[in-house]
């Protein structure tokens, strides 16, 4: 397994970090709420047999302040499209989680050929009034970790400042990740994705943490109902919204099985 490589691509004049590790066929990862403030055990699992490429979406850690020029959903979709192209992920397998999942679905729907196979881990994009998603942006501070992960410590570990981090800029970056998510998905987490899911023809895995406290696992069936291509639903026991933090091996296993 090769070492982690860091490079940057430019989207709308703002640099976005691209992390690459591993060897074998390429697989892209668009992270969920909080983004990627650090490399993850989940990505290491994937990198054992695949070349993992994880570009940072604008506004998320590594993605600078590129979110500040994205005013509409179309702006976001085109920014992600450029990011996928420039990171060398066009035509590859793509994993999108949570907020990143909504964009991964857009790529497969709007740009056929851009995505080979799709894995959506509790993606944003839909909202059901009868089964409402939790508002991730109206939470008391101490409630956030337990909302994001079944094991609250997993979230706390994700966002904890690493040694040597700038004590002023680090917390601002973490808030910025939340702002970037809000900018694209405020107030309901929905982008009327149901209007475009019917365009997705590639095989799609819908993977949900059994204990997802943000998006009800029942949303998996709603997604599956809209997709044109084959859809497979899997539930990960003991995992919350960011299942790839709670159960990295189990999630990686399911994703790799889908892509093989």
């Amino acid at each position: 397994m090769s070492d982690l490589k860091t490079s940057a691509v430019e989207v709308n004049g703002f640099p976005c970090r691209v992390w690459t590790k591993g060897s074998g066929p390429k697989v892209g990862f668009l992270a969920g709420l909080g983004g990627l403030p650090r490399w993850l055990p989940f990505l290491n699992e994937l990198a054992k047999t695949r070349t993992v490429i994880a570009p940072s979406l604008p506004g998320y850690p590594g993605g600078g302040t590129g979110h500040s020029v994205l005013d509409t959903h179309l702006d976001w979709v085109l920014a992600v499209r450029q990011l996928i192209d420039k990171a060398g992920l066009a035509g590859c397998d793509l994993i999108g989680a949570s907020v990143g999942g909504a964009f991964a679905a857009e790529m497969a729907a709007i740009f056929p050929g851009q995505v080979k196979r799709l894995a959506l881990l509790a993606p944003f994009g839909l909202f059901d009034e009868k089964d409402p998603a939790t508002d991730p942006w109206a939470q008391r501070r101490d409630a956030v970790p337990g909302l994001m992960c079944a094991d609250a410590d997993k979230w706390s570990e994700l966002v904890a400042p690493p040694e040597g981090a700038n004590s002023v800029e680090w917390p601002i970056e973490m808030v910025r990740a939340s702002e970037a998510a809000a900018r694209a998905f405020w107030p309901l987490g929905a982008t009327k994705l149901e209007k475009r899911l019917g365009l997705i023809e590639v095989p799609t895995l819908l993977l949900w943490g059994e204990k997802d406290a943000v998006l009800p696992p029942s949303y998996a069936r709603k997604f599956a109902g809209y997709l044109k291509g084959t859809a497979k639903i899997e539930t990960v026991p003991g995992a919350g919204h960011l299942a790839y933090l709670d159960r990295p091996e189990a999630v990686a296993r399911a994703v790799l099985a889908h892509f093989s």
Partner: protein
Amino acid sequence: MKLMWFHLMPYTELPDDFNKKHPSVWVDIHSSLFDPRRAHHMYNDFMDELEYAAEVGFDAVCVNEHHSNGYGLMPSPNLIASSLARRTTDTALCVMGNSLALYNPPTRVAEEFAMIDCISGGRLIAGFPVGSPMDTCYAYGQNPSLLRERYLEAHDLVKRAWTEKDTFAFNGRFNQQRYVNIWPRPIQNEPHPPIWIPGGGSVETWRWCAEMDYVYCYLSYYGYKAGLATMNGFWNEMEKLGKDRNPYRAGFLQFVGVAESRQQALDLYTEPAEYFYGRCLHVDPRFALPPGYTTEATQRAGIEGMMTKAANLANPATKAALKATNMKDIVDGGYVIIGSPDEVVEQIRHVATSLNVGHLMLLLQYGNMSKDTTKYNTRLFAEKVMPKVKDLFGDWEDKWWPKPMAKNQRAAVPSYTARVAAE
């Protein structure tokens, strides 16, 4: 100096166990607590109180905008202001104000403010707040990451709508209008009604007010002791920008309870003050910080300032000023100024001069204060306090005050006599 009478219009009958049984006075406050038939009386009492304040000689009456809020029953302050335009004659009407990003298109604000200015004969002060997170992002669903950009664009559009003579097209990031041409136009057209900006303590807002030549208003509920640091920051910034210390560049909100003696003031105002600071400010913290609402520059200043803040927290005066809910701490913290007329005079003079504020916005009704008590507080202030503080800042010109039509040119509004029963 200018003494302005401000009403928040709080719902006055929140239950005693409100804080125990309900998570928040704002955003998701339960509808079962709202009795429209009681609100009928509250609104009419509040409007009587505003009219009374104008009658006894306050320079302005002030109203503001809140949504889904148990202490602010004015989703549309413009409705109240238009009524006041007819029921008052010479008092300035300070709408503090309309949260610009909430109006679609924002020219709605230009139109409604122009209407109030026309009806009142040019007495409008146009307040443009960004709006609180609870009002804008939660109750009104606005995107916190786009709120300020939308606000600034809406401001530009409203100002152009007021000042451009010809129909124009506006092609903004968020607003596109092919034909902008508002009717009516404001009476105050040299160049437009005075614009006042209620804000928190961000340097960006101070700079913007200076650049635009607007009045900056610090509308805190925590009184002059807690407000001192913010106002010092404001004046330091003005000095850096080469602006004079004209006290009329600034406005400040202060709660007051005046009575014949300090003890009588405590007897009268303890219940309404504790109602306000207890029940009315019981806001669920989950609605306080939508991501993106606070700019990164302000976050940075906040984090870097934490050391100073920690030092301030050690100061007992500041400590008391954080969320006190009992009268002793409320008074010690300076949230509410109480006392006999002379004691209040002394404190008001101190507030005005120490903060260097020429526009003092007074809350003389708060919490569940009754109409009788409110009128008593208002009358005593007007008769015994106002004459002894009006002389302050006489050397400065208030360039930010409304310029109404000459009195003899204004419409004669049929006189209004309150029913005896309302007294």
